[in-house]
């Protein structure tokens, strides 16, 4: 029996060899990829340990030693990023805000990839009217701009972080679907797909056992890019004030600065969340870029 379980463990190691190992090799040589991964890992650690790292409750209205409300205090040892107009600690808010960014980024990217990959496989494999129908749907979705779409969705349903995730997922899968479809068109003409049909495999088994593993690297790459889009979209939607009011996110912090008019004076309230967004996006795109070079070796020659 031990023998029969071997293919599975082996195929995992095959996967490791074919994707993760060249990726790690690449990271070792490519400084930018290393920086990107370090940035993402740091943000994940911050998000996980945010409640322990934050010196204050991000919603507490803090007072100075003389008992007055710590309104718009500039950065100090007690408040590394200063305070808001209501005496809240910006540093703590930025730390907690990492959670919203990563939650939206990773979950939306996961759903985007899940929907997009499935639609892409079905369209590319079946072809014909199924393909035409799904790709025309993608065309229609391409005509809808992402951020207004999410804003309108938030306005129609209740603004919650889950609806932001759904809003992003429902629209952004279009890109993944189109890219996966084109790859499936090519993969499904390979002789090994004919061989699978000769073995008597059902269409479902051909699509998910024989084709899907061979487009997995591309799907993962698209997922990495989707993380970037999702973070941007969440920040934008929150900045214009349609985000989840109960969740502290970087966009939300920027929204409050703007709303109170402190954006011109309290630079310490503006710069940290802005830099956090930019830094996380840089990390994501550096990683995605190196992943892309692993998936598509032709890019390496540039």
């Amino acid at each position: 029996m031990a023998v029969t379980t071997m293919p599975q463990t082996k195929s995992k190691s095959g996967f490791r060899r074919s994707l993760l190992e060249p990726f790690l090799d690449f990271v070792r040589r490519d400084r930018l990829a290393l920086i990107g991964i370090l940035i993402i890992v740091s943000f994940i650690l911050i998000a996980v340990f945010a409640p322990f790292l934050a010196p204050h409750d991000p919603r507490d209205m803090l007072r100075r030693e003389d008992g007055t409300l710590a309104r718009l205090d500039p950065p100090s040892l007690r408040h590394p990023f200063g305070t808001t107009n209501l005496g809240r600690d910006v540093f703590s808010q930025v730390l907690i805000g990492t959670r919203a960014a990563l939650l939206v980024g990773f979950l939306a990217a996961f759903f985007v990839t899940l929907i997009g990959t499935n639609i892409g496989i079905i369209a590319g494999y079946y072809g014909g009217w199924v393909d035409s129908l799904l790709m025309r749907l993608v065309d229609i979705l391409y005509a809808i701009p992402l951020i207004p779409f999410v804003i309108i969705m938030m306005a129609l349903v209740e603004p919650s972080i889950w609806n932001v995730i759904w809003g992003i997922s429902l629209l952004t899968w279009r890109t993944v679907a189109r890219i996966i479809r084109s790859q499936v068109l090519s993969v499904s003409q390979r002789p090994y797909v004919k061989a699978a049909r000769m073995a008597g495999c059902s269409n479902f088994r051909i699509m998910y056992y024989h084709i899907a593993p061979n487009i997995l690297p591309l799907a993962l790459l698209e997922m990495a890019f989707a993380v970037g889009w999702a973070i941007t979209a969440e920040a934008s939607v929150s900045f214009v004030g349609f985000g989840d009011p109960t969740v502290i996110s970087w966009g939300q912090i920027l929204h409050m600065v703007f709303l109170t008019g402190a954006i011109r004076t309290a630079w310490w309230w503006v710069v940290p969340p802005g830099l956090a967004i930019a830094l996380l996006l840089i990390g994501v795109f550096f990683t995605a870029r190196s992943l892309e070079e692993v998936v598509n070796p032709r890019l390496r020659r540039r």
Binding site: M1, V3, T4, M6, P7, K10, S11, G14, F15, S18, R190, P191, Y192, K194, A195, A196, R197, M198, A199, G200, C201, S202, R205, H210, P213, N214
Partner: protein, 334 residues
């Protein structure tokens, strides 16, 4: 419908037309044109026989092979397999047919999913058809590898295709076809992408499988030297038609159709000083959308006479079992 006189597989009036899409407006005008990949062919294969199907790319030989194992659906025609017509099997019956007819593909590099081990690729049929327990599956895969002369089988089970040579891969492909104990195998150019040095080994393996298991085979190739080596009978295809069919031994000595002759004269001879009559044909295979009037080989035929541009020749037997579709050859008595 039982096929008489030892004919195990009999193909009648087989056609495969692919519609040509030229654009949206043309499709409205409903002037659909077709590529006639296979244009009404008949042939049979006896039990335990290897039939060769030769021709250039575009002659329809691969399409014929794929239709025989129902990888593609025929546009028209019947394929009698033993006693059943498999031309329009669907669903479960088609799945069961996969246990009786298998295929070996041309490209040993693309014929395996890079993410499956040798075991994973071969066991797939057994899994899909729910044959045997886990232990029995392993045994059957090992047996298939042994039959394909990959010994010891244990050394190959858990290797990935990229770790194997072209010849080994083609043997694994043979093992994959053999694992379900099929009665009929279509081998589509199984050696064309292999080094010459290992071709003979694979061809001999196919011969041995035929004699050991009584396999019936359709061997598709553009290379007449391998066709003649392996096959009992062979058919030449040109633009979707069979232009000549006969026993290999007879055809290698005296092919009648100018096209078959040209294919034979393209086979290199081992003796560099040997001279032989060459049949010169020019150009490439013409498109099979707008076929020429008369014989479809007439644009390239050095012997074409008036009637070749008027009437399409039928396959006519010149001696038992040897038929040619040509107005000029063999020289007719009348």
């Amino acid at each position: 419908m039982t096929t008489a006189n030892g004919r195990f597989i009999e193909v009648k009036g087989l056609k495969k037309y692919f519609p040509v899409h030229r654009g949206f407006l043309d499709s409205l005008r409903s002037q659909s044109k077709y590529v006639k990949a296979i244009d009404d062919i008949d042939f049979f294969i006896k039990r335990g026989e290897i039939l060769g199907l030769a021709g250039e790319s575009g002659s329809g030989k691969t399409t014929t092979g794929e239709i025989m194992v129902r990888l593609q659906d025929p546009t028209a025609g019947d394929i009698f397999f033993d006693t059943i017509n498999v031309a329009d099997l669907q669903g479960r019956q088609l799945k069961e047919f996969r246990l009786r007819a298998q295929m070996i593909f041309q490209d040993p590099y693309e014929t395996f999913s890079p993410r499956l081990t040798v075991f994973g690729s071969i066991v797939e049929s057994l899994k899909v058809h729910r044959i045997g327990t886990s232990a029995e599956k392993v045994d059957r895969v090992k047996e298939a590898l042994t039959r394909a002369e990959l010994r010891p089988a244990e050394n190959f089970l858990y290797r990935y295709p990229h770790e194997l040579s072209g010849g080994q891969r083609q043997r694994v492909a043979i093992a994959r076809a053999m694992v379900v104990d099929p009665q009929f195998i279509v081998a589509d150019e199984p050696v064309s992408m292999l080094d010459v040095s290992i071709r003979a080994g694979v061809l001999n393996l196919l011969k041995r499988l035929r004699s050991d298991f009584g396999l019936t085979m359709l061997y598709v190739s553009h290379d007449l030297s391998t066709v003649t080596y392996l096959c009992d009978r062979q058919a030449t295809m040109y633009l979707g038609k069979i232009v000549e069919v006969g026993p290999s031994k007879v055809m290698v000595k005296g092919a009648h159709h100018p096209y078959t002759k040209a294919l034979f004269s393209a086979v290199p001879l081992p003796n560099p000083d040997a001279h032989r009559e060459r049949t010169p044909i020019e150009g490439e295979i013409t498109g099979n959308i707008d076929l020429p009037r008369g014989c479809r080989f007439n644009p390239r035929c050095p012997y074409a006479i008036d009637i070749c541009f008027q009437e399409e020749p039928d396959l006519v037997e010149s001696e038992p079992g040897h038929a040619t579709a040509c107005h000029v050859f063999p020289a007719r008595a009348d």
